[in-house]
Symmetry: C2
Subunit: 337 residues, 2 copies
């Protein structure tokens, strides 16, 4: 029986609770995974706990009705949760790439208290991964972060577990669905401004699209790729970065004339003993698996010693997908318990 504590109950945290409630029996039968959620800490919905487990159905009903959780458990704080009430803490507060707070503080305190942590929060990973990994090792617990790279598509579990034993020589991929959507529309004939406007209408791109189109979001992913897959301690500024905002329809057409397709690629690789991380528009031959990835979809290609190239293609970000990443990490903890 796993005692689960949840910090941050926005769309991602709720997505996980929905899956856990809907699949409780299924998870027990298929994976021998049994659990209770002992506490939830959230500044908006309320912080409540119950040592014998909260009622997930009532919590989800309250969330759907826009009510707080206040009458569904005892009032608690993070200290209560970290005092023996949680074997594993799910950290799902919003990403803050400036100083990582409050997620970084949550992860540090949970690991220091001897709890496993599973998290989709990119802030602590971008700012403090080596420190947090060392803390987890010292305490004999795990810090699992599947959701930080391709939402639910299991890019990290694939590399570290399914491909265990391979050396990973380089990783490159399409890690930002918004820019991939824009490039796909440009190839279909739209110019840059029209494609961007369409991405904004569909909710893929923000009103200020800088983080996507200038490659900042992809650069954070490339940094995480360098640190997770190639063992580096890179900061975001160690990533060479070029966005797509200066690409024209003529560039797209010129690539096509060469039998290629332009993609915004995040790539990390070992070059002469050092690791290089770069985000830039790159031409891929049409025969490459990444060239066929169209729309708001994510994909990574791993160059390995034993298998050559292995590619995984999956959906873009969404609340269910990110909840799935947390669940996969919980089930991985359960396999090695």
């Amino acid at each position: 029986m796993w005692n689960i504590g949840l910090i941050g109950c926005g769309n991602v945290g709720l997505g996980l609770l929905r899956i856990l409630e809907a699949k409780r029996e299924n998870l027990n039968e298929r994976y021998g995974f049994s659990f209770q959620v002992t506490g939830i800490v959230d500044p908006f919905r309320g912080s409540v706990g119950r040592e014998e487990g909260l009622d997930l159905r009532k919590l989800l009903e309250a969330a759907d009705a826009g009510r707080t959780f206040d009458d569904l458990g005892e009032p608690i704080d993070l200290d209560w949760l970290l005092s023996g009430r949680a074997d594993v803490v799910v950290e799902a507060t919003p990403t803050n790439l400036k100083d990582g707070m409050p997620g970084l503080d949550h992860v540090r305190r949970a690991l220091a208290a001897g709890c496993h942590v599973v998290s989709t929060n990119k802030g602590p990973v971008s700012l403090a991964l080596p420190e947090l990994q060392a803390l987890a090792r010292e305490k004999g617990v795990r810090y699992r972060i599947e959701g930080v790279l391709l939402s639910g598509t299991p890019a990290i579990n694939l590399a570290q577990e399914a491909l265990a034993g391979c050396d990973i020589l380089s990783v490159q991929g399409i890690v930002n669905g918004t820019t991939n959507f824009i490039l796909t529309r440009m190839e279909e004939g739209a110019d840059y401004d029209a494609a961007l406007a369409e991405a904004q209408e569909l909710g893929y791109a923000e009103t200020d699209p800088t983080a996507d189109v200038e490659g900042w979001d992809a650069a954070v992913k490339a940094q995480v790729m360098a640190n997770v897959f190639l063992g580096q301690s890179f900061a975001v500024n160690d990533v060479e970065r070029t966005g797509i905002s200066r690409l024209t329809s003529a560039d797209i057409a010129a690539a096509k004339a060469r039998g290629c397709r332009l993609k915004l690629i995040a790539k990390v690789e070992r070059v002469q003993g050092a690791v290089r991380a770069v985000v830039a528009p790159m031409e891929l031959p049409l025969s490459h698996p990444l060239a066929g990835v169209s729309g708001a979809v994510n994909a990574l290609t791993y160059q390995t010693d034993h298998l050559g190239e292995v590619t995984i293609v999956g959906p873009g970000a969404g609340r269910i997908e990110t909840g799935q990443a947390l669940l996969a990490d919980l089930l991985a903890l359960n396999r090695s318990r």
Copy 2:
């Protein structure tokens, strides 16, 4: 410390031994995996054992020089190996799809003796998977078979571990590199006979190409997919099967004119409560990740409840790739020890 016994030391078994010898320290550092190979049973190279571990370097030297293993350990038989000398048995004898022998007997006896089994042998999986899984459960051990589907590309680990928690609704893919090579060449302008002759020259296709071009190899894979991913007890004859030998250049061109590409697809899916398994040439829109898979490459697309479509693309069969599948399964056992 794992005591490993190896049954069958052809290209696949040797591929595993090469990786184990080359990466001994690396595997211990990265995964805490330490091992010795206590015995090898092979009708051609010889059956030798040593309780404190055989010398892998000397074994590989002997194999490379075409010598037997006879002077590198005590003479043993399978009973010796299964009497407490192996925690895990690697079964890597040649596939026999008629009656599964001798692999089926090896797997049965090893599981009955309380050994974990990792195997790339399709025969026992095709003929007796439910029986062998039940025996493994009864004995509290694992029967892991990553290599039977896409060689080293981790199709089974991906579905069962990296995607754990998802329900798999259907799986379809390109599971026979030879026919995919032929179709790729036909799309490039060759007719069927010329493309087949080229595949034979390159060693992809056998002199008698029936197993590939009539879809028998793909049908065994589809049967395994139905049983592994969708929990069925199908025989090969439960798979609806159409090969590629009647396809003409005109069929390829007609698909192209519709914006599609013809691929030999193995597909298993739930249809109105029942599971259907089929192998047939199918038209895929160019935007589908499987449509871009060209040459002697394998790929599977999983339709899941939480993530929609997830696709993995990897290399075709080879000795290193298949050794990697065995290693990945050994490391998975080590994670859950």
